[in-house]
């Protein structure tokens, strides 16, 4: 078989075929992820169209400040991820490890802020299926609950994906510290990078759809 320094799996004829395969696999997997979130977006769109006022009213109670900070955090993490891929191609090992670690760190910051935001939502009685929700305070509590349900399910699913991403990022960091990645062996970084960027893009859609459909005043910005 071709010289491959142990990288070539037995079903492939050469490294180029293997790399192409792994990249195509990740793109196809992301297509399926697009459809999972797509299903949720469709349900959200249907109800937003049916109940625009209630959705707007509920959206105004979401924490736009944390949402905005989290967006900056996640966008920055995509930057560090892209830099990590770049570093791999340029064989700059220290930069690679730093960028991967930073990406993981930024992802974790997002999760912490998200958790804190969920806690605030809980304290503000925005959790419909618990006692922390005052139905009598709303015109149409059912519709508000519907919005909040979509908010939790969509951001929750996103958070699960991000957690998986952080796990992969940590694994990548450990492997990178052992010097596993190089201009010859870069596919894992690229492939996981693709996943990370996808998770980021989903957030870019979630933010305006969930947080920004109503007008917000300075009084909305609070912890």
């Amino acid at each position: 078989m071709a010289t491959n320094s142990g990288l070539l799996a037995h079903q492939f004829d050469d490294l180029e075929q293997q790399r192409d395969t792994e990249l195509l696999s990740m793109w196809l997997f992301l297509a399926t992820e697009l459809l999972i979130f797509g299903g949720l977006f469709t349900g959200y769109a249907a109800y937003r169209y049916a109940y625009p006022n209630d959705f707007e009213a509920a959206s105004r109670h979401l924490n736009v400040l944390i949402g905005a900070i989290n967006t900056i955090v996640l966008l920055s993490s995509s930057l560090t991820m892209a830099l990590a891929v770049h570093a791999t191609h340029k064989n700059r090992q220290n930069m690679l490890v730093a960028c991967l670690a930073l990406t993981a760190l930024l992802g974790t910051v997002f999760m912490i802020l998200k958790g804190f935001e969920y806690y605030i939502d809980y304290r503000e009685d925005l959790v419909p299926w618990t006692s922390h929700f005052r139905a009598e305070e709303w015109i149409n509590p059912g519709q508000i609950a519907l919005f909040l349900l979509f908010y939790y399910v969509m951001t929750g699913l996103h958070a699960i994906h991000l957690t998986v991403g952080i796990g992969l990022m940590l694994w990548l960091t450990i492997q990178a510290r052992r010097g596993r990645y190089s201009p010859e062996h870069y596919i894992p970084v690229e492939v996981i990078g693709l996943y990370w960027h996808f998770v980021d893009i989903v957030w870019i859609f979630l933010l305006p759809l969930l947080y920004l459909i109503g007008t917000h005043s300075p009084g909305d910005l609070h912890f």
Binding site: N53, A57, R134, E136, E137, W138, I139, N140, H222
Partner: protein, 335 residues
């Protein structure tokens, strides 16, 4: 024994014959083609079976002409089937204006019918022959389906929504009514009968069941639930006039307009804040949990029938219902 085995349903409505004609047309075309294909397969399998001198010709790869032929020809037939099918379907979507109205409520596991004139039935529906009947249907719980095979009509029955269809029976007799959307344990038991009678006999049946029309029942509820207190159509009215409302366009406070149909009335009674009429304050309380589906149908019938000048007179001694405590706020205050 076999004489009693039916193989085809009766044609007992004006619609049935149309459905059957369409069906037979499609059967004829498809049976002809299927038969052709079957005959060809059998013929080829026999004629070209593996033996010497069987005209075996492995050169054949295809024929653009044939491909185009058997792509385009089916396409044309399919378009005929589609157009014909759509026309038959449209025919039951809008009922004739002079249709007699019947309200149907499905619930696990029974059908409740209410005639315009107030008669109620359970699992049986009496109708006169030769008269268009418009059905307005809803469900109290899960999705059911109102199916009368001999009329060839079928419609899902949804909770929270009114569905409409219509039929005109052409033959006196008794016909099966089935629920045909799975709805739980006794789905197979949610069956009934449609009894089609001569007009005279039907009128006789009606009068023997006299109860007071649906609209009359609704008027009693209108007073009982004290709707009259605000919807009094006089100078002290705190709510819009309901006379002649049904079927009209209503302007809402957010600039949209909506047609005042059964769904709108139902929503206005259960969720009055969902749509606020332009120029009025949102003070109507919700009657969710107080008014059930049958009473709702009676109220709707009343409002449908309400002509100018027919609003009851407000009794000065009745106290208004408690005003909703959140009437001054649209949402709760910010922290």
């Amino acid at each position: 024994m076999f004489a009693a085995v039916p193989l085809f349903p009766e044609q007992a409505s004006t619609h049935a014959g149309r459905v059957d004609s369409l069906f037979f047309f499609i059967v004829a075309i498809t049976a002809a083609v299927s038969l052709l294909v079957t005959v060809l397969i059998i013929t080829f399998a026999v004629r070209y079976r593996r033996r010497p001198n069987n005209n075996y010709d492995p050169h054949i790869q295809g024929s653009m002409k044939l491909e185009l032929f058997w792509t385009i020809t089916p396409f044309f037939f399919f378009m005929v089937m589609f157009v014909w099918g759509a026309r038959v379907y449209f025919a039951v979507a809008e009922s004739p204006i002079d249709a007699m109205e019947v309200y149907v409520v499905g619930k696990q596991w029974m059908w409740k019918m209410q005639h315009q004139t107030g008669q109620r039935e359970i699992n049986v529906l009496h109708v006169p022959v030769g008269q268009a009947v418009k059905l307005t249907l809803t469900s109290e719980d899960v999705i059911h389906d109102f199916f009368v095979p001999d009329f060839r009509i079928k419609l899902d029955v949804l909770p929270g929504r009114y569905m409409h269809t219509w039929f005109q029976a052409t033959k006196v007799g008794t016909y099966d009514l089935y629920c045909s959307q799975y709805c739980g344990t006794n789905h197979a038991g949610m069956i009934g009968k449609v009894v089609v009678m001569e007009k005279a006999q039907f009128d006789g049946w009606l009068s023997s069941q006299a109860e007071g029309s649906l609209a009359l029942q609704g008027r009693k509820l209108f007073l009982k639930y004290q709707c009259i207190t605000c919807h009094s159509a006089d100078s002290q009215a705190r709510a819009p006039v309901l006379e002649g409302l049904f079927g009209r366009m209503v302007a809402l406070e957010d600039g949209k307009t909506v047609v005042a149909n059964e769904d709108y009335i139902r929503e206005s009674i259960y969720k009055p804040r969902a749509k606020i009429v332009f120029g009025w304050r949102p003070i109507m309380p919700s009657f969710e949990g107080q008014i059930d589906e049958q009473e709702m149908i009676e109220l709707i019938a009343f409002i449908k029938a309400l002509r100018p000048g027919e609003t009851p007179v407000r009794n000065e001694e009745s106290t208004p219902p408690a005003v909703d405590p959140t009437s001054e706020e649209v949402t709760r205050p910010k922290p």
